[in-house]
């Protein structure tokens, strides 16, 4: 009985090389030795050689026609050869743009607040109350306008609309309040604070970020009555002429210690988008502006359509022609 298990992979390798007459003298000697040792290998070799002979004897067919190209065919081939990759790349680029737009929106919607702090912010209330008290003269009315619009340095958060923190020393404001599972950080400059030395000296917590807490705790951490009591200056101090600060004033955009009390700018620089103040409309309708996106919906639909159409044309040129 022939035992198949005696044949090793090396034997099969040598057998195949032998069939193609490509054995080296050493390999030939090794293979001959194995043929004498293993009858199954000998049988296998004979069968394989017969198979190879049969394969080599298969008839070679004549071509049914010449496959040469005419000038017209050649021109057509070149044109199609140019268009196919063009449509392929156009389809790919359109699809990538669509993916980038949707992907980036998905990411930013999850991790960032696109809306500034809402007017429910206790800090805003405090400022508005301050300025309402201070609106005795025309000049103070101008100051009120500035004061009621804090300059936002950072407005970031996720999970929920945050509540602003307590006003900071030197006019810096900041704070963060979280809803359950979310956190919000809001750092801004409140120009109104500089008009009162008392406030400037008493302010605390500039730039502080409140630890992440649950919403219930967060609300109770800012007792509404505590904030105005701490922050609202006395009637006399608000009515008084602004006094130059004795200590070194912080260098903040729009505030010059020598020109304290005068309005330097009524509007932020148009090219500095980070310091852009939120409009009241935006503040009130935060949810609406949150849904706005950079890329118009028409452009998105156009890109998706382009990706599909270009892809179909590419597919047609590649497989159907």
């Amino acid at each position: 009985m022939i035992r198949q298990e005696n044949v090793t992979s090396r034997d099969l390798e040598l057998l195949n090389i032998a069939l193609d007459h490509a054995l080296t003298p050493q390999e030939q000697a090794e293979f001959n030795k194995r043929l004498t040792e293993c009858p199954y290998l000998t049988t296998l070799f004979q069968q394989q050689r017969r198979l190879k002979d049969a394969m080599e004897q298969l008839p070679c067919y004549k071509v049914p026609r010449n496959f040469t190209l005419t000038r017209v065919e050649a021109r057509k081939a070149k044109r199609a050869g140019f268009l196919q990759p063009v449509f392929g790349w156009a389809s790919l680029i359109s699809a990538l743009l669509v993916a980038v737009i949707f992907g980036s929106e998905l990411i930013f919607r999850n991790v960032s607040l696109t809306v500034p702090m809402s007017s429910d912010n206790p800090q805003t209330y405090a400022v508005q109350e301050d300025s309402s008290v201070a609106s005795n003269t025309g000049e103070e009315a101008g100051i009120k306008t500035m004061a009621s619009a804090p300059i936002y340095l950072l407005n970031w958060g996720y999970g929920a609309t945050g509540l602003g923190g307590i006003g900071g020393k030197g006019g810096g404001g900041g704070g963060g309040v979280a809803e359950a599972g979310g956190v919000s950080i809001n750092i801004y400059i409140n120009p109104n604070v500089f008009y009162s030395e008392e406030m400037a000296l008493e302010g605390a917590g500039a730039g502080e970020i409140a630890p992440e807490t649950a919403m219930d705790g967060a609300v109770s951490a800012f007792p509404e009555e505590a904030i105005p009591e701490q922050e609202v200056p006395s009637q006399e101090s608000l009515m008084a002429t602004p006094i130059p600060l004795e200590h070194e004033a912080p260098r903040i955009y729009g505030i010059d210690t020598e020109k304290a009390g005068t309005i330097l700018k009524m509007t932020p620089d148009s090219n500095d988008t980070q310091l852009e103040l939120p409009s009241e409309e935006e503040t009130r309708t935060g949810q609406e502006s949150e849904s706005k996106s950079i890329v118009p919906i028409q452009v998105r639909i156009g890109l998706v359509a382009a990706a599909l159409v270009f892809g179909l044309v590419w597919w047609y040129l590649k497989f159907k022609r």
């Binding site: 080599e56 010449n66 190209l69």
Partner: protein
């Protein structure tokens, strides 16, 4: 004319030089395609597609064996054609026997140089081999057709399939063993001299 000069001219846009190259290799290409596709019309389509594709890609030819480069395009065209056939199965218009098998190719019967018995035996053998080739997977089939039918060397085939020579050898070894197994099963149909299992029980 020297092949390298023809290639150079073809790359420069000389259509006559290109057609000269096509005439040189079209028979090889068609036969490889025919053994892979097992269908004359499909083989002709694949060869024509390969020629057009070669014309488009002439700029990307970077030297080396032109034959291997062309055969690679041919095998790719065959893969494309096989994919098309899978999507749109066709029905043969050739006459069939009661067992739904096509009647033997008239070219074989019309070959006057062979005797009738030899012609029939050859036809049986070719049919058995082609059937077994069709049962191999595409990678094994391509290697076996190129080495055992077309007689290409390992290096050329390695260039065609863009794999190392070792891969060619291992695929060829497996393909030959599978072919042998397949032909043993259909051995009854083969002429005596090609039956592979008639020496099995000698020991």
């Amino acid at each position: 004319m020297d092949e390298s000069i023809l290639i150079e001219k073809a790359v420069d846009g000389d259509l006559d030089a290109f057609n000269q190259l096509v005439l040189t290799y079209q028979e090889l290409a068609y036969n490889v395609a025919y053994r892979i596709m097992a269908d004359e019309a499909a083989a002709a389509d694949a060869t024509q597609d390969a020629v057009i594709s070669m014309y488009r890609k002439l700029d990307s030819y970077r030297g080396g064996s032109f034959k291997a480069w062309f055969l690679r395009i041919v095998t790719n065209a065959c893969y494309d054609e096989l994919r098309k056939q899978k999507r749109r199965p066709t029905v043969s218009l050739e006459p069939e026997t009661d067992e739904s098998e096509p009647i033997e190719s008239p070219e074989w019967i019309a070959d006057k140089s062979l005797g009738l018995e030899e012609t029939i035996m050859n036809a049986q053998l070719e049919k058995a081999i082609q059937d077994c080739l069709n049962k191999l997977n595409q990678k094994h089939r391509v290697v076996m057709v190129m080495v055992d039918v077309s007689g290409e060397d390992y290096e050329t085939v390695a260039e065609v399939i863009q794999s190392p020579v070792g891969t060619v050898k291992s695929r060829l070894s497996r393909a030959r063993l599978k072919m042998q197994e397949c032909l043993k099963l259909t051995g009854e149909l083969l002429p005596d001299q090609f039956r592979l299992n008639n020496e099995e029980d000698d020991d």
